[in-house]
Symmetry: C2
Amino acid sequence: MVSEKDCIFCKIVRAEIPCSKIYEDNEFLAFLDIRPINKGHTLVVPKLHCKNLLDFPKAEETDLIEFIKKVANAVVKATKADGFNLGMNNGRASGQVIPHAHFHIIPRFSDDGLRHWPNREYEKGEIDKVQKKIVSFL
Amino acid sequence: MVSEKDCIFCKIVRAEIPCSKIYEDNEFLAFLDIRPINKGHTLVVPKLHCKNLLDFPKAEETDLIEFIKKVANAVVKATKADGFNLGMNNGRASGQVIPHAHFHIIPRFSDDGLRHWPNREYEKGEIDKVQKKIVSFL
């Protein structure tokens, strides 16, 4: 799918809706999230429509990791952040709101009060079963 | 830095500490987090030591996005997840615990009860200032 008529991020890519653009190349666009978790929160989207990482197009030219590094480095410097989260929610159950794949770059501060999810424990022997099951789907 | 003597993930890469390996190639290794947020929670690490995304080595051969897609697809199928989060914490203030760069692939379920961080609002005109500041560091 090249571009979805009613997708809000496709509309931003087509410049039918304005955005606070940070950076772009032929394949990806970075712009500010208008409702940031912390100010400077930036989104990176592929210009071609796809739903999430599982149907993400193999990049033609762009090294996406290098693209994100470049943007994240500028976000951290500009906001004087102590760190940042890179995140991508895939599917509604994961918190994805706009069904056009996007990475979040969220500047973080030592005193911003944001908490992380708790960790769990495997029962004895359970981790080996989970490992074998995942490997069977590769 | 090729390998850090006392880094726990470097020790896993060197097989001095065992792991529940999911997948690997010449440059990256995927293995189960032993204290998962949800069971099947998988980590992807570069085999060369680096602290976080900002000093991440430019990949020689691996398309890391394709590597993560492959692993995430297997995690989702094996755990029958409704979605997944891809995440990377960069710096202690962001929740990074092990100072060797790593991506989290966390399977998610509609009823898992994990909550996301709240969004904030920009004051009038503020987003333009933030945009200009970030762009000035590119």
